[in-house]
């Protein structure tokens, strides 16, 4: 019985049809393969089935009812879940949050997130798929396999009736795949319909009950796997016969070309690996992702430091401490992650092809244009790249063609040794065959190839010898013609008991976790500074009054900085807040002087701030330009408007009632301190305990991942700009009240103070991480430094350099701490 049925789906993007006519019919309790070359329309079809896109025409039926999904959330709610390829994730958020954010985390009364429940729920889900790992740790530190398992656990948790798995095994090794297949079969037994998308046809045949083949935006056929052969599938996908996927002509084995002895990584990812690769030989490295294989290759290529070990090429010892040295020594490395490590998407094919030999193509730095063009043409013809022109941006080519260009880039360095890391990952069948042919051609010409792959059939077919690596150690050397597939696979399997034990050790204790918070470090710094000052100036410094004075000084920048924190967390920036304060305070006090009641002025100020800030955010979104430019322009525009609004006059002699908004004490504490504490508490509550707050952080972590779970960038961006604007408006109204005057330069430089406070407080300037408490402490530290400098009667001439140096020091220390922590996990 069909659970999900897609019929006659059409979809175009900007006039270009992605799907012409697609049909998919998923039954309960089956594993349904979906195969096709890259660009055949598989991803579009998945995205339509899971609610990310709406089809132009066609119908979707769920359990026999016509449905139309408004969002991925909606689809997930209806029981259709998806685990995306290359699980793009929110690296700075915890694993638990990554798993549960898509379904809105777990919230208690008033819609506030209950973190205890979130963590225990995530732990439960992980246990259900038979795993156990720390769900509180940032997801960025996790291996791909674990992320994948966690995502599956999360996807299944929503009582999924249909589960789409997009290339789930691309980065997994045999053992992990086995585990995954176990899970899939269990789900199948529970009656879930599973759509399994993969380029690995062996797996499709092994796992699936039926297969749908796509080609050029159409579903060509849906057939049972019973009696289906690979060749049949391939020709159906490609539309013609493909001679052989693994073409390898035997080459004559020559002298030893690359000799590695006792290589050990400085960061401990691999230990004591020795390998010889002869000319004319392909040596396969097989092992888990995270077993240290990529790290090993990258170390050879000079990208990572090596602690012990020696490398010889053609019998000469070589020093490999940078990729340039490695290239000069005759090495080349084709990276595993094409998009991140391989291509320059916006640059031309020519530039992508020539980058590794560009210096050789130059005279005294001057690039010989003719030589470069010739080289690029050579790459296109040698690699059989299908492209319109060599000036075409490489991002417009298919994945396989991109990979061929990167391959050609390295081939043109005429390497003695080629290190290939997953050379055919995410590449369609046609290109895969071609890449294998190219490899074969290169060894024939006497090159030595070290190929890393987690696709066992590829390793077996292409390698002359196979080395297995597990947990950073070499576990065996095999001859694929002699040794069986199972022997080789078994050698790559880590000893599970050891692994589990190591995992649980890593889980940090309560104290360590507590210490890892940025706020604790900042507090430590404040305590240290306070202790020093108290020692030298007890009477002046260590008084409640002085503390309150510092807090009052920090208050206005802190309020603005809270807004800046939100915007920065979402991946934006606003450098026009200083001018905005000027404009808003001019209008608000203008109203006050005209006799408007203070509360009205406050409301007006906050409203205006919100409007201006929304204008900033809205312009950046609509015109698709970076907010730093919009707000750079905003600096002069708002300041100019302010000057026009005031007619160049200063506004003073404000009504006492207005001044009373900010000026004076309440219960012995300056009023302004209450404002900053309330604002900090609210922003903290928002960022930490509301779903919108977490979504803002998610957006700042990864825009693309945020889109996949159905978050609207526009809405979240406008939200943070709006809130920040309201806070800026508040600060503007208070500033005028507190200081009793608005002058032409009111607010000038506030943007830098706010950003400095946020950054000192641990907000990641690139987005995705930040805390309200940290920001308040950051603002407090800056104010405290000035206070301390004046109280210590330090020369005013050196004040600003001192503060600049201290902020820099704080950031550097934080960076170093983050890094050592990163190295440990």
């Amino acid at each position: 019985m069909s659970v999900l049925q897609l019929a006659n789906i059409r979809k175009s993007f900007g006039g270009a049809p992605a799907l012409r006519c697609a049909n998919l019919d998923v039954r309960a309790g089956e594993v349904h393969g979906l195969v096709g070359e890259n660009g055949a329309g598989k991803s579009t079809l998945i995205n339509i089935a899971t609610g990310l896109f709406r089809p132009d025409s066609g119908s979707i039926e769920l359990n026999g009812f016509n449905v139309s999904f408004a969002s991925t959330r909606h689809a997930a709610h209806s029981g259709i879940s998806v685990v995306h390829q290359e699980s793009d994730l929110f690296a700075q958020l915890s694993l638990a949050e990554n798993m549960l954010l898509g379904r809105g985390l777990l919230r208690g009364p008033a819609g506030l997130i209950q973190w205890g429940r979130v963590y225990s729920e995530a732990e439960r889900l992980i246990r259900e798929v038979g795993e156990s790992f720390d769900v509180r740790a940032p997801a960025g530190g996790l291996s791909v396999a674990r992320r994948m398992m966690a995502e599956i656990a999360a996807a299944v948790s929503e009582q999924a009736r249909v589960l789409f798995l997009d290339e789930p095994t691309a980065s997994l090794t045999q053992n992990e795949i086995k585990n995954l297949f176990g899970q899939i079969r269990r789900l199948k037994a529970d009656g879930v319909g599973i759509v399994y998308v993969s380029h690995r046809l062996e797996e499709v045949l092994e796992l699936c009950d039926r297969v749908t083949v796509m080609r050029d935006g159409e579903t060509v056929e849906t057939v049972s796997t019973q009696g289906l052969t690979m060749d049949r599938m391939v020709s159906s996908m490609v539309g013609r016969e493909v001679s052989s996927l693994y073409e390898k002509t035997p080459a004559s084995r020559g002298e030893v070309c690359l000799r590695v002895q006792g290589a050990t990584a400085a960061d401990g990812t691999f230990t004591d690996i020795s390998v010889d690769v002869h000319r004319g030989e392909i040596v396969g490295i097989y092992g888990f992702v995270g077993a240290g294989r990529s790290e090993f290759a990258q170390t050879l290529f000079g990208l990572r430091p090596m602690k012990h070990g020696s490398v010889e090429i053609d019998g000469t010892a070589v020093e490999l401490s940078s990729p340039r040295q490695a290239v000069r020594a005759g090495l080349a490395y084709l990276p595993e992650d094409r998009l991140v490590q391989g291509v320059f998407r916006g640059h031309s094919l020519r530039s992508n092809a020539s980058v590794a030999v560009l210096r050789r193509l130059s005279n005294f730095g001057w690039i010989r244009a003719a030589a470069e063009t010739k080289l690029a043409r050579q790459v296109v013809s040698d690699m059989n790249v299908r492209a319109g022109s060599i000036e075409q941006p490489i991002g417009t080519l298919s994945g396989g063609n991109q990979q061929k260009v990167v391959f050609g880039r390295w081939q043109s360095t005429k390497p003695k040794v080629l290190l290939l890391d997953e050379p055919t990952r995410g590449v369609d069948v046609g290109a895969k065959a071609e890449i294998h042919k190219l490899m074969s051609g290169m060894v024939e010409q006497g090159a030595a190839i070290l190929m890393i792959s987690s696709e066992l059939p590829e390793v077996l077919a292409m390698s002359d010898r196979v080395i297995t690596i597990s947990e950073g150690r070499k576990t065996g050397e095999f001859n694929p013609r002699v040794d069986s597939k199972d022997t080789i696979a078994a050698a790559a399997v880590p000893r599970a008991t050891v692994r589990r034990a190591a995992e649980s050790e890593k889980r940090p204790g309560r104290l360590a976790r507590w210490l890892s918070f940025r706020e604790v470090g900042l507090l430590g710094f404040i305590v240290f500074l306070a202790a020093v000052m108290t020692w030298f100036k007890p009477a002046e410094f260590a008084t409640v009054q002085n503390f309150l004075d510092v807090l009052s000084t920090a208050a206005l920048p802190a309020i603005v900085a809270q807004g800046a924190t939100l915007i920065i967390c979402a991946g934006g920036i606003d450098i026009s807040v200083g001018s905005m304060i000027g404009l808003v305070s001019a209008v608000a006090t203008g109203a006050a002087v005209q006799g408007a009641p203070p509360v009205l002025c406050l409301g007006l100020g906050m409203l205006l701030g919100t409007v201006f800030s929304l204008l900033n955010g809205g312009t950046a979104l609509l015109a698709r330009i970076h907010p730093i430019i919009v707000t750079l322009a905003g600096i002069s525009i708002y300041r100019g408007l302010m000057r026009i609004a005031t007619g160049g006059k200063e506004i003073m002699e404000l009504p006492a009632a207005y001044r009373a908004l900010a000026d004076g004490d309440l219960f012995g504490v300056p009023k302004i301190c209450y404002y900053v504490i309330v604002v900090t508490a609210l922003v903290h509550l928002f960022l930490r305990y509301t779903l919108s707050g977490r979504r803002v952080l998610a957006l700042g972590n990864s825009e693309s991942a945020a889109r996949l779970i159905g978050l609207s960038k526009a809405r979240l961006t406008l939200l943070v700009f709006g809130v920040s604007g309201a806070l800026v408006g508040l600060a503007a109204v208070l500033q005028a009240g507190y200081y009793g005057k608005v002058q032409a330069n009111t607010g000038e430089g506030m943007e830098l103070k706010a950003i400095a406070a946020a950054v000192t407080g641990g907000t990641n300037i690139l987005g995705g991480r930040g805390s309200a408490l940290g920001t308040l402490l950051g603002a407090f530290i800056v104010a405290l430094l000035y206070n301390a400098l004046v109280l210590a009667q330090a020369s005013s001439y050196w004040q600003s350099s001192f503060v600049g140096a201290l902020i820099l020091a704080a950031v550097i220390v934080d960076m170093l701490i983050q890094r050592t922590r990163g190295a440990r996990t």
Partner: protein, 327 residues
């Protein structure tokens, strides 16, 4: 389409420009150190008053921050527009000199006011009062209010502000002879960067840092109200005598509530008025350096000292006279 957009932008901008174009009569450009502060707003009032009386066009414009480089660029435009005279309050005597020299080379009369430029770069300097007399007034007011043995410190604008730096030197010179027992507690002045919030903060911190402080001199029109706010908040007006330079309007509240008893300034309205009078007379050839006096409209006869026109003595403001001024 793209061309069209560009054309529209250009035309729009140009049309704006056209709307502001002026017809030709004698034109005097008056440039303050910066626009948007009360002191220079008052000076603008005086300048325009003189312009109306003399029947000349006054262009009053200046940079929006006290930046001499922006002044120099704006001056170049004025030179191109062939103004008849330029009256400028330069932010720096040397930095502005090359631009002024160019103006003179093209036959434009150059008057400096409020603060001077290098002597060879201008025709006349309209001085509100000499630096020595400003310094003397300030120190005398301080001595009267806080005693001749007062321990004090100074809050200035930015540490690079040249007028303030000259006054501070003069104040120190005068102190050594007139009040040798007075003590400046902080060898370096406290900076307030023309930022009232910073002025308040620095003053508040200084009150704590120097417990035996008896007087504060805040010598810019931004610093004094800022410091007054700090003194008022700390409630130490009886212990610490605060004075300095500021406009009466900015200080009215603080004088009335007793935070500040006396402070010093000259009339910026008269200063702007006199600058234009001198500029026009100079352009018409009616005023030349070296003459003993100059008849300047409603301000009356003013004295000359070489190539310096002197407005008069600074005014000391207090509760009794502050309501008489509207700047």
């Amino acid at each position: 389409m793209k061309k069209l957009v560009a054309l529209l932008v250009a035309l729009g901008v140009v049309a704006l420009g056209r709307a502001y174009a002026d017809e030709k009569k004698m034109t005097v450009g008056v440039m303050p150190k910066l626009k948007g502060i009360d002191f220079f707003n008052a000076a603008q009032k005086g300048a325009e008053e003189a312009g109306k009386e003399l029947g000349v066009t006054i262009v009053f414009d200046g940079p929006v921050t006290n930046d001499v480089t922006l002044q120099a660029q704006m001056l170049d435009t004025w030179i191109a527009k062939k103004f008849d005279a330029i009256a400028i309050a330069p932010n720096d005597p040397d930095a502005i000199a090359p631009a002024l020299a160019k103006a003179r080379k093209r036959g434009i009369k150059v008057i400096t006011w409020d603060s001077d430029a290098r002597k060879d770069a201008r025709d006349l300097f309209v001085n509100q009062c000499t630096s020595a007399s400003v310094a003397k007034s300030l120190m005398d007011v301080l001595a009267k209010g806080a005693g001749p043995e007062a321990k004090y410190l100074i809050i200035t604008g930015s540490l690079t502000a040249s007028n303030q730096n000259i006054w501070m030197k003069e104040m120190d010179k005068y102190r050594q002879t007139a009040y040798p027992k007075m003590l400046n507690l902080s060898a370096t002045p406290k900076a307030s960067e023309e930022d009232q919030a910073l002025a308040t903060q620095v003053a508040a911190d200084s009150l704590k840092a120097y417990p035996n402080l008896q007087g504060i001199l805040a010598i810019t029109s931004v610093a004094l109200p800022g410091a007054a706010e700090a003194v008022r908040k700390a409630g130490v007006a009886d212990k610490v005598f605060l004075t300095g330079l500021a406009t009466p309007k900015a200080m009215r509240d603080y004088v009335k509530d007793g935070t500040v008893k006396q402070f010093v300034l000259w009339s910026p309205v008269d200063l702007g008025y006199l600058a234009v009078q001198a500029g026009v007379a100079s352009a018409k050839g009616e005023l030349k350096p070296g003459q003993p006096t100059f008849k300047a409209g409603r301000v009356g006869e003013v004295k000359l000292d070489g190539d310096m026109v002197i407005l008069g003595e600074p005014v000391v403001f207090d509760k009794s006279n502050i309501d008489k001024y509207d700047f």
